[in-house]
Symmetry: C2
Subunit: 258 residues, 2 copies
């Protein structure tokens, strides 16, 4: 099993994902929000790349009497006129239970749509569900590509950390000797260089994931916007067992629990 | 002082390097070879992007009675017809002393040429001279971008490790508290997310840099080609005080000791 990592949504080459399991990360905050919403009873999430498309779809669903929440974020702020934003704290069970969440965000929805073009299966990862995602990805038995959304085309510490946490869980399940100093790499688990770097990042911050957000530009930016409670939530490791999976439905992607 | 990191030669946007100090890394093996050659008395290194240009320049220099060595590598192998390759072990003092080394390599010379377009100063980094480069870059007082050559457009563990070693040395010189768990990021040292990840990679492998080459695809490839002695040499940390600096001379770059 080969494990690779793409650092940004922009670095996705869809053909290179053909046949593999892709796991998409946008830890602050899109994928943490998706995981939280589904864990709290949300029926499905529909990620839409642009704001007007999200508004149109939510309007159509509402017209069909589907209970829907319209949520969107750009640059860390709620989109004007959108009732919901990109904070996982906006989606407790009593708000999101049984609803369809139509969501558009800066980087995460682009990464999801890019990954879904060719990958055999697309899962949604975060710190909140890292172990569950690792277990699911192993069971699928295919090569795995961790797709980090990144921030405005740049490498993001928090996305790579969460991807590394999934790599670390997989290594501990399939080849725990990998972490020993005298270990010879096995042919059964082939880690690309970027996956190795992410794994070490995960080991560094495993006991204090929240600290990584202080070391991340986007984390500090959200902190300065008064979103410390969001950061605390998104830093929580292996809180949920939910593994969101992305499916294609007509012209939209939908995300549901496995 | 802002510290950033570019993972591959392909990710260089010359205008973004304007006014800054760039440090170029191609640890296996171009920049390790350049550092070794200059430490061993080489007069200057001329990095040339293509093989025919290297051959032509070496011929011209030889015609001018300049003592010159023609060296080239593609895909880890010596270029057919080139008397020297890309192994630092080919350049002991008795071979390289007083000579001009004309060198073309797969990734390193491209990164050097890319960085030299706009950066104020370009230094050549490796594990062999990480501390000396960090000291020099700090003295220059400008923002610093670590430019990793990468391997065929891909992230390379060993280049990022060496870049991280320079970041780690700088942090220990300028803001040692950064590494403490309760440290508040200072405004004097602004690390981009990629520089933070590289720093942690350096801390992971600091006591066993050679081990990182076993975890790197390119390292394993060279090992399979019988180049273990090269890997041992390139893994040696802070062996040399030499800091190569890149200058422009007519249509060529030249690299000399500071």
């Amino acid at each position: 099993m080969r494990i690779d990592l793409l650092p940004t949504a922009e670095s996705i080459v869809p053909a290179e994902l053909a046949g593999c399991t892709a796991v998409v990360f946008d830890v602050l905050r899109a994928t943490s929000t998706i995981v939280t919403a589904l864990a709290h009873g949300c029926r499905r999430v529909v990620p839409v790349v642009d704001a007007s498309g999200a508004r149109e779809l939510a309007g159509r669903l509402a017209g069909e009497n589907t209970p829907v929440l319209l949520a969107g974020e750009r640059g860390g702020q709620k989109i004007p006129g959108f009732p919901y934003g990109n904070s996982p704290l906006e989606y407790p069970p009593e708000v999101v239970g049984g609803k369809v969440l139509v969501l558009t965000t800066s980087n995460g929805t682009r990464a999801l749509n890019g990954a879904a073009k060719e990958a055999h299966t697309v899962l949604v990862g975060s710190l909140l569900n890292a172990r569950a995602v690792a277990q699911k990805a192993c069971r699928l038995g295919r090569d795995i590509t961790m797709v980090c959304a990144g921030t405005q085309g740049q490498f993001s510490l928090e996305d790579t950390l969460a991807a590394g946490m999934v790599v670390l869980e997989i290594v501990e399940m399939l080849d725990p000797g990998w972490l020993c100093s005298n270990h010879q790499p096995s042919s059964s688990l082939d880690l690309a260089d970027f996956a190795v770097a992410a794994l070490h990042l995960a080991r560094t911050y495993r006991d204090n994931t929240r600290r990584a957000f202080d070391h991340s530009r986007h984390g500090r930016r959200l902190l300065n916007m008064g979103l410390a409670a969001d950061l605390d939530w998104c830093a929580s490791l292996n809180t949920f067992q939910v593994v969101p999976v992305v499916k294609k439905e007509s012209s939209y992607l939908i995300i549901e629990k496995c």
